[in-house]
Symmetry: C2
Subunit: 229 residues, 2 copies
């Protein structure tokens, strides 16, 4: 029995660490491991979820499509995160779609287990609450950035964020490779505008590129740019 939750380090990073042995056993017994290929959806906007996803490996984007076909990425998920809790807790349709950015390994946990545990274990509720409080703060920050920063500043910020959160390889390229389209949808700009800015950053020596791959060269300057200098 290799892949039991009891032995899974991932849970240390999320609210599942508040579960006791019994609860954890129940989760482990009912969970379903899934592999999601790059580009595939975990769930889509407006769907009703009958459980949550615990991310063991890979990165996904949470996004929303507008009527004119433009996508806005609201958040990138990290390893160890639980996805879909908002919808399960509010007993609501999902307000966002989740799409794998690279190959993912997730565990699906049926909602009954989650809601039962929420009702009985206040520590678990509190943990979930803390995580959601964190998400809410980040969302507020994004709102402010969207209205007060230029696309250039947001792009600089995104680069610094990606390096900080997902690291880079031996050659100094970001480990998480996004398409130009994804970048545009994160900073909220037209793809062409964004490509132009990447070219500009490259010309100024702030970043380097090799095909899709992007490497952060002048992290501090990018940070300053993001902060408005």
């Amino acid at each position: 029995m290799e892949n039991r939750c009891e032995n899974c380090i991932i849970r240390q990073f999320n609210s599942l660490r508040a579960l006791n042995k019994d609860e954890l056993k129940k989760v482990s017994d009912s969970k379903i491991s899934k592999k999601i290929k790059r580009g595939e959806a975990l769930f889509i906007e407006g769907q009703k979820l009958d459980g949550v996803f615990c991310v063991r490996e890979g990165v996904s984007k949470l996004s929303k499509l507008s009527s004119n076909g433009k996508e806005q990425i609201v958040k990138l998920t990290n390893r160890g995160e639980i996805m879909g809790q908002r919808s399960v807790i509010a007993e609501d349709f999902t307000n966002l779609s989740a799409t794998a950015i690279n190959d993912m390994e997730v565990c699906f946990i049926p909602k009954e287990i989650i809601t039962n545990t929420l009702n009985s274990n206040p520590y678990f509720s509190l943990e979930v609450l803390r995580h959601m409080a964190h998400d809410l703060k980040e969302a507020d920050d994004v709102i402010v950035n969207m209205s007060q920063k230029t696309v250039k500043q947001r792009l600089a910020e995104a680069f610094v964020y990606l390096k900080k959160n997902y690291g880079d390889d031996e050659e100094g390229f970001l480990s998480l490779t996004l398409s130009r389209d994804d970048y545009a949808n994160i900073v909220g700009a037209a793809t062409e505008s964004l490509i132009r800015m990447i070219s500009e950053f490259k010309k100024k020596g702030l970043i380097k590129t090799e095909g899709k791959k992007i490497g952060i060269v002048e992290e501090e300057t990018l940070q300053e740019l993001a902060d408005g200098f």
Copy 2:
């Protein structure tokens, strides 16, 4: 004993309704009623809160100031809402400032009561969780609107929202009177740009104005405009 929480209808609208008699008594014994004048702050960005606020009367704006002095309003609070919970739960500094838009009456509840109850009463945690889930969804929606809608669309949406949430008076003017500056900070635009749009809406007969006051004339058209037609 008039103003005891036990007799306060307001709590039916927020997570405090999950409290049992004993818990409610404790809250009531330790709460402090406060009157906040229009323009005064309940708390400011970066502060540490030693409690939460339960809004009995009045409206406040949650906002963040940027380095260049521009303010972004993230949310308007409603009667019955609890403010400051995110910060208390995450044991974190506030990420937003709260300022009274009109005269307010709030009850301050010390954080110990809140955290103790969160630890002992899973129903309360769950209620708080549901409210935060709702806030998070709204925040996500704002992010998407900020990036995908024009200022004009966002303004139209704001008018419809204000009418729906705060109603209007006998003469058809919005009950909640905001300054042009506040409007600009809600939709994330320069004040002059916003004023111009108000003039335009007025010219087209979508709204009417009388000094600061704004009345919604063509609600449906505004809604359509907000949705992109």
